[in-house]
Symmetry: C3
Subunit: 631 residues, 3 copies
């Protein structure tokens, strides 16, 4: 499939008489896809049962007629106000038990059966009407699951559903008590109906209780999504998509993705660097108008895995947004760079969000390709340039030499029991990813149940709370190189310490006898860098690769299977990963700061995230510039 | 009217047998006014209908008999505990929906009709009894509206009243939906009774919704105050006063002030610098025992406008207070300096708070003119000195050469939608005010509906969300100099982006094509300083006065009407305002740090806020000193 | 009594068939005591009335049979889930009014009569069964009162009880109104049932109201504990113990201790330094794996006073814990050092917490003497070493030359009314204690109602809100040296400013005319150091010992009774206390950083808290080392 550009559009926001002109301008700009409809429920059904689909018919006609391919969104992220009158208890509740009220979006609890039935109803109506419409060439279900911390709900509906879930999973209260270790602090239950949600306890609740609630909450998202997917499948052959967010880990995207055809995500590089990434202030200032040089690539690679190869950017930042603490404008060139980077990572489509900046409501300060007065915003010209450049370039994806395992359940495990205040699973994986990328590598991301690990020269599995048997087999296979740890295989599925002690790698005589979390400033010198944040004391006779300056083991191994007993800083990670790459026969090229590389089957792409030109091996790439060469 | 000193006194706190002695000492100290009664409801009406006015009769007799002029407060800021039994739902609710309980003060919701009726009842009783008492020469209504964040209430009473307010303002739900842009995210309402207050939404509520709630909340204060003013007018000719607070912006003081005769405010320079002003730590330490050199003057000038020329300091800090995070003592001399500064800005009266430090309850660590053991506190001697000095000095106010527009609704707009985390309207205006004062200027403050703008050589309108037509006319009049912006005329009354794009100044070909908010450290070099926090990209052919180092326009103009496209730091503001003053024919004299000047019709006053003497143009003014010269 | 080592054990966590082996290993390690049972209610009474004591019988048999002495805990800190079904309103409520739910521990309100009756019932059953069991040689009542901020409850049960308490204390609403100064802000009550708890008020509630609630809350803990103690006394002669926590000040430990025979506390040096002590980051990093050099000693001395000479460490940290923000491992040697330090301060027993690390539930990352796989954890060998060393060393306690008064009510007073944001009573006393210890001194701690003050050469009474008459008598006795202040005798029992003004020391002509709290950076130079945080202006003719650089009095005195008018930093405190010690004939020896000394009747002990060896007067003490010499 040839990749394409697109845009998000809200016909219901504008007078009908501008739709045609908008459509023409989109096509003229080189756009192919247009996503519509995902927040329009109050205009499709202004009161219960009063269906008003005519305007949508017409909008699809106009857009499709102009040559655009329509992605139609189901509107279930924004139930109308009357839904609350019908289902007053459908709201999610926050951890303080307060209902999360109407007035913005995502105001529903994933466990509310009445609301799920309403979603089924409206999706059935849409699928029946548009499932075979030739212009509707893809469907988006709901919008940004989990955004605004909406995965976890502490509502009565969630409590009921969680009790049922526990009953199904554990079958008897005794089995649950044993699994969770409820003998500790007399937390035994005699009946599933005694189990509350793990909020507002006097002090820390049982981590097994929290972890069960986290698994349950993720599964509720999967079920909610599946209810719509099943209906759509009956009426359409067009691919089903969801638009995920950046650094939202509260539900298992691989599980949701299994019911869909394409993964997509909403990429806001500047907002994410400011609001969602943990980075030093000087890094945030250096890349203020560009975004973090690895954040987009990481999510591209992650969602490529979630989509089993098929993925989009459904929303691409085109200018300043409205929702970060501060909202600077992208450097000239970034709207082009971001799109090219997505294509280099295999995106089938990149849709800018949104066509015309809305002068009203929550996102009125969110830029579009057009200004509110319909004049071109700066990103429009860059989109046009990308569209033209794409005509001359054909490429295809290839497997990366290196892979990292990414596991949502591990994020929940370490959030449940960080043991050190700054132990964030995302940061641990992202640090490793960044270090690989600074060595000039392309990286694939794999789910924990992957059967592809053996296809890579080097596989990393940092912080994987529970290592599935099949993966352990693959990683400990002596014919490939792998790096496990830190804090890998450290918990059972029920969030307890396994016996024998971790990491329990076949053939590796090493046990974690003690763990330490370390505050900022308490760094342990190792080679060219330090261990910080987390350090494990190892015992056993496994051969050492790396030790601390004081002689404690840091990396041990059996053949090509390495175990890392702490969280390396950038310098140590660079040193260690270089060595492992060499061992694995993976060629590395350390890159200047802010420059990144991505290899496809045919080309090597360079992306300069700096605000100044950078020269590397004779090439000079301008500020915010993209460069590609045949491989 | 000759200005005078006064004091706040609580006869109900002390045995009757000390009243006479207190009154005599007040008179001996040179005090003229005494404010009483504003928290005494539980002693005036210990149980419902059981009126106990005898003690107040006597207190007024004693004080008035000693020659003091009494300001009588209505006691509605502190309803007695039995009021809650009668009206259990009268409490305000915080943004979390929790009732704000009895046990301190201001425990009422401005929208509760039952409580308003009780206020009418008690004020009628007081007005009937004391409206013609010759000693009662002024009335204070309630106390410090909005203090402790009490303007906004999320109670059921507020919700009902807000729905009525919406119904009156918009007439139909459809009109409201259109005005707010509720099509966005399916937020349409079919009935006014569906509208909730904008709290506890899943994410950001519609800014138009919030802004409507802010306007409503301000109007509720106006109505509450008016209910009392109307009753008092029927029974007395004495002037009506309210004592406003420092940096409380949640209601429109101009609107409340329109129903009153005199504006007054409660000036706590040291507490405000520590607790309410945003300033670097070194600034806070430098002026630790003096207060910010501009904060008092700013509020004096603001409340002079609110009082349409008539204003007081109703409460003047005399020593350490109890409510700031830290509470140091004023430098010797400050209790005098503050009083003189108020008189130089036109105060009719300055009343110290309070006569004798109470040894009990919340403010027991709040200094008075007397200590709890009735010995003189340090400020008493300074008050005596001021009283003596006033006998020798007569002065009168005159118009300042420069004015700044101050608009409460703009504070709400930018609080509703800051777009940058540190975009505070107060700080923007105050930065401009400070820069003018550092140039040695006296400044007037004007409301946005002023018709006096044309009387000034230079008028500034920074951050004015919506420029009223009349004001725009005056500011763009080529015969006067004005500086508009940044972020001026950037929103409609309904909190959307106007068409055409801002600033839309007649005759000025400039449009804001893009806005950026900038985090700390992301400064844009301009001339002698920088733009920080906020920067607007301008397009159009307007003539430039100032550009960034990279060549983007910062100040453009048509004739004498200038538009400023960013938030200047101190250095840039000084450079820019010097230039505009020169252009406008306003003479400037840069002052040493901590020294400030105020011109009256007859004198130039110097105030040294430093803890060390300062020399300026041959004059040496001692630490915490005041100096005046004939003009 | 010869001191002994012990351990905390949970037979209910492990299969019965390992109990015997565990017991044997305990005895082999040199342990004497084993504490059991304190969280086992759900296994003792799985459903209401279904008593299952067999397993406990057997566990006591096995442990006692192996030669161990059993401490049996009452299980009232962890009521089973069915208790909530019986008493749904038994939960405490937090300051926001939210019930603090089941799911961890300490989920009860001290004021709930129904739950207290349940506690009486279960304790009666236990006492009847084990009161004369020869293996049960001590009893622990409940567990860590006040931990997780559980002393204060804002539940309906607490509200009812508080009203009764007020009625009993004040007898009439008028008396209460007078005592609290409720005339201020019309806060008068007409009926005790009108009194709410002092939470969720609009702004600061009356400090007298808060202070009454604090006294009430403390007394509820005393009563709760006494209810169990009275029952146990009827059935056993074994000593009664409670295990207090570090830096928990919410209830009066002296009052609880009066009903018990032995005080004990739970000592987690590394967790406390990280989580509960206020100290600069570099200090926290320096002692990261050792704990603060004075924190343990301070609590040892405090609980020796609470236990009237008899005290234990009931839980001793053996390795990394799970509950601090970061959890590093102790340096090798610290598990020995901590135990020896406790014995040097007079502990009768030191019990490590816990025997075997549990692989499940909340504390699965909390180290024990055994690892989860039953292998020895590092601390076990250190415990063995201590056990062996104890056989060769006999010592006895002696009175220290210096004492400090410690008063829980003062902690409440200054928390109620800090006046400066960093005015913490604990820190003030601890600063003084640290300064004495750095001078090489052993220190005793005394309660405010002590009659032993006259036995010390020097007594300090910093921050004592209300000085009891008897203590004032002793401190102002010219035959001994005392240091009173700052902020001593500054409040009445009802939290108002006393008349005459403080400190009101017999024979000392000094009054606090004004107080200042000072933010960080606002230091007042005095001698070799500074006053920071708090400074009092003194008037009167008392002789001065120390003045500020500007000449204000800092220390005044009459004979040997000194009053200190500010909070000294470390340098000033060292200078001042050296001088007072000299005056009092107390010999001082300034110690190197991290080295501390404790004298018993027979030996001088040295404890090196540094991570490196330290040499002092010819002795070199290794890192984390202990050294003792005959005196």
């Amino acid at each position: 499939m040839t990749p394409a550009l697109g845009v998000c559009y809200y016909p219901e926001h504008w007078p009908e008489d501008v739709w045609q002109d908008d459509a023409t301008r989109m096509v003229d700009a080189g756009l192919t896809w247009v996503r519509i409809g995902e927040f329009a429920w109050s205009r499709l059904e202004p009161s219960p049962g009063d269906l008003q689909f005519d305007w949508l018919d017409k909008a699809i006609d106009v857009l499709g007629g102009a040559g655009l391919r329509v992605v139609l969104g189901t509107p279930t992220a924004t139930p109308p106000r009357w839904m609350l009158t019908k289902h007053p208890d459908m709201l999610a509740a926050d951890a303080d038990g307060r209902p999360r009220k109407f007035g913005s979006r995502r105001h529903y609890c994933f466990s509310h059966q009445g609301y799920i039935a309403e979603c089924r109803r409206v999706v059935t109506l849409l699928a029946e009407r548009y499932g075979h419409n030739p212009h509707v060439q893809a469907w988006q279900i709901d919008n940004e699951y989990g955004c605004h911390d909406t995965t976890l709900s502490y509502s009565p509906a969630a409590q009921d559903a969680f009790r049922d879930w526990c009953a199904q999973r554990y079958q008897s209260p005794d089995a649950l008590n044993r699994a969770w270790g409820n003998v500790f602090w007399s937390m035994d239950y005699a009946d599933f109906d005694e189990i509350d949600l793990p909020n507002l306890a006097v002090t820390e609740p049982n981590p097994a209780h929290v972890m069960a609630f986290r698994r349950f909450s993720s599964e509720q998202v999967v079920r909610f999504n599946r209810a719509q997917a099943e209906i759509l499948r009956r009426h359409t052959d067009a691919p089903l998509i969801h638009n995920y967010m950046g650094r939202v880990l509260d539900f298992d995207h691989f599980d949701v993705g299994a019911d869909l055809d394409i993964a997509s995500w909403d990429s806001y590089p500047i907002g994410f660097l400011s609001d969602r990434l943990d980075a030093p202030e000087d890094h945030k200032l250096r890349f203020l108008r560009q975004g973090d040089p690895d954040c987009q690539a990481f999510h591209h690679d992650l969602y490529r895995a979630v989509g089993r190869g098929r993925w989009w950017v459904m929303e691409q930042q085109p200018g300043p947004v409205n929702w970060a603490p501060w909202n600077p404008a992208p450097l000239p060139g970034m709207a082009r760079l971001w799109a090219w980077e997505a294509f280099a990572h295999g995106a089938e489509a990149v849709c800018y969000f949104r066509w015309r900046q809305a002068p009203f409501a929550q996102e009125q300060q969110h830029a579009g390709l057009l200004r509110p007065d319909s004049a071109d915003a700066p990103a429009l010209a860059e989109a046009c340039q990308v569209a033209q450049e794409m005509e001359d370039l054909e490429t295809a994806q290839s497997r990366a030499p290196v892979a990292i395992i990414f596991d949502y359940a591990s994020a929940w495990a370490w959030e449940t029991q960080p043991q050190g205040a700054d132990f964030h699973y995302f940061n641990l994986v992202f640090d490793m990813y960044k270090s690989l990328r600074r060595l000039g590598l392309s990286v694939d991301i794999l789910p924990p149940d992957t059967d592809a690990a053996a296809n890579y020269r080097l596989v990393l599995a940092p912080g994987l709370a529970t290592l599935p048997d099949r993966l352990m087999q693959a990683l400990s296979d002596p014919t490939h190189t792998s790096l496990i740890g830190p804090r890998s295989n450290a918990k059972t599925e029920e969030m307890s310490i396994p016996a024998p002690l971790p990491p329990n790698i076949p053939g590796l005589d090493a046990r974690v006898s003690l763990v330490e979390s370390l505050p900022p400033g308490a760094n342990i010198p190792v080679g060219a860098g330090h261990i910080h944040k987390w350090f494990e004391h190892l015992e056993g006779k496994a051969e050492r690769l790396v030790s601390t300056a004081e002689g404690q083991p840091v990396v041990v191994h059996a053949n090509n299977c390495f175990y890392l007993a702490g969280w390396p800083d950038g310098d140590l990670a660079a040193e260690l990963l270089s060595r492992l790459c060499q061992q694995a026969g993976v060629e590395t090229t350390p890159l200047p700061e802010g420059l990144r590389v991505r290899d496809t089957a045919t080309h090597r792409f360079y992306f300069n995230y700096n605000a100044a030109p950078v020269t590397h091996q004779g090439r000079t790439i301008p500020a915010a510039g993209v460069h590609w060469e045949d491989l």
